[in-house]
């Protein structure tokens, strides 16, 4: 009976350890060069699309993220799928009614690229409330592959995060939290139109430094102070520090907007628990004094 008391919330998929040999400068340089080939065009809403407007991308992105979360997909699947979606929309004028099919197809492909057990066509069709059939998903798959020239090995911000973390003077446990936060910011960026033009390395660097600030790690090491970190990461990605700072600020303001929206939603749905939680917001000041 005892074994049944074990925590069952661990990953069921067996995975290899990260290969430390791949976290070197040669790989990083190759990735920085390669990412250019997978950038969508920044202004496809104006130049290519006639029916699709930015808010529709937001709707389909939110839906895709929800599906990925519910299916417990690998973190990379969602940003990769969004990259496919943007690249497709950069070259192909698409009807509004086909946007969800496109989103499902991109998740289908990204999942096949990144996951041990990929999402099935049937499952994805259920998530569209059966408005598409598996056969149509497979047909769309060929259309998408053709437009992407069968090149699905896009570089994603996730590929860079590991490199950046390996360069920072942080304890392993803190790294785990930092990674999670940075990955959340990456997903957040993928849902927002403003970040389409930014290369993955920039998004990753901005997310990591936003996470470092958010977690208030700057006291851990002087290298992690806002300015030093931005300087350092901008050198790593060979970019202008001001650009990176702007990207980080954009991420932070997006985070704030999203939190506010979440808050508004919460106010409308759980008004009664709000008082209790406002109370709690004073707690950390006391808790900080607790010696652990």
């Amino acid at each position: 009976m005892e074994h049944q008391l074990l925590c069952c919330e661990v990953e069921t998929i067996k995975r290899a350890y990260q290969d430390a040999n791949l976290l070197n400068d040669r790989v990083l340089q190759t990735m920085l060069k390669a990412e250019e080939n997978y950038l969508p065009s920044a202004n496809y809403f104006k130049c290519v699309q006639k029916e699709i407007v930015p808010y529709m991308r937001k709707i389909v992105a939110t839906w895709m993220l929800e599906v990925c979360e519910e299916q417990k997909c690998e973190e990379e699947v969602f940003p990769l799928a969004m990259n496919y979606l943007d690249r497709f929309l950069s070259v192909e004028p698409t009807k509004k009614t086909r946007l969800q099919l496109l989103g499902a197809t991109c998740m289908f492909l990204a999942s096949k690229m990144k996951e041990t057990i990929p999402l099935t066509a049937e499952k994805l069709c259920i998530y569209t409330d059966n408005s598409i059939r598996p056969g149509e998903l497979l047909q769309m798959e060929l259309l998408v592959l053709n437009k992407l020239k069968w090149d699905l090995a896009s570089v994603t911000p996730h590929d860079f995060i590991e490199h950046f973390l390996s360069k920072l003077p942080i304890h392993q446990d803190t790294k785990q939290i930092l990674r999670k936060h940075a990955q959340t910011f990456v997903a957040l960026c993928a849902t927002d139109v403003k970040f389409i033009a930014n290369p993955p390395s920039m998004i990753a660097a901005g997310s990591v430094s936003a996470a470092v600030q958010g977690l208030h790690l700057k006291n851990v090491d002087h290298m992690l102070s806002s300015q030093n970190l931005t300087e350092f990461l901008s050198q790593v990605i060979k970019s202008d520090p001001d650009c990176l700072r702007a990207c980080q600020e954009q991420i932070e303001s997006l985070l704030e907007t999203s939190l506010r929206q979440a808050q508004q939603h919460n106010i409308s749905s759980e008004t009664k628990t709000l008082d209790e939680e406002v109370d709690l917001s004073c707690t950390p000041t006391d808790v900080r004094d607790v010696n652990i």
Partner: protein, 195 residues
């Protein structure tokens, strides 16, 4: 590390975070528990909550939904046929082979030669997927169970005769677990001992 995190709660969006209800449990545990592993466990949960709080603000909405109305089925099918034809034509030109009728084209850079199917590796032969594959498609959560259920076809006998795997209609595996190999190795050792 925990110290840093608690400070973070006081940082910029702290008020917002609290009203979303994130970190509540984390704090309670800081106060009442000094057990390292328990605290860590709660941190993990709360990061998930952070994500839900920020990204999935309206999480009580149904995920299964149709966003923009019905798909243009007929047009999609037409476009698909068009592209399929184009892809087939392109590859026929590229390889000098008519893949539809399975005959070599004349005047290409390649010379084609017929090889009997018995002489090619199993990988290139047509595979029949049996009903047992459904056992493996149970989804992520049930994966270990599914592997146990379908464990039979991967005994050592099958491992030794890979070409038979396809021709005898045994399903082609998607993913190999390291435990599969342990299992078959164990069986192998036992058998040799008996013999």
């Amino acid at each position: 590390m925990f110290y840093g995190r608690l400070q973070a709660l006081n940082e910029v969006p702290a008020k917002d975070l609290f009203s979303v209800g994130i970190y509540k449990r984390l704090l309670l545990f800081f106060v009442f528990s000094d057990q390292f592993c328990i605290v860590l466990f709660f941190i993990q949960i709360d990061i998930m909550d952070l994500k839900k709080g920020i990204l999935l603000s309206s999480s009580n909405r149904k995920v299964c939904r149709n966003l923009f109305g019905p798909v243009d089925r007929d047009q999609l099918h037409a476009e698909y046929q068009e592209i399929l034809q184009k892809v087939t034509q392109d590859s026929a030109l590229k390889w000098g082979f008519d893949f539809v009728n399975e005959t070599p084209l004349e005047g290409s850079n390649y010379q084609w030669e017929r090889v009997p199917s018995g002489k090619v590796p199993a990988l290139y032969r047509s595979c029949f997927v049996t009903a047992s594959i459904q056992g493996i498609r149970l989804g992520k959560e049930n994966e270990p169970v599914a592997l146990e259920q379908t464990g039979k076809p991967f005994s050592c006998q099958n491992q030794e005769s890979t070409p038979k795997k396809c021709s005898s209609g045994v399903l082609k595996r998607k993913q190999t677990n390291i435990t599969d190999f342990y299992q078959s190795k164990k069986m192998f050792v036992q058998r040799t001992e008996k013999a």
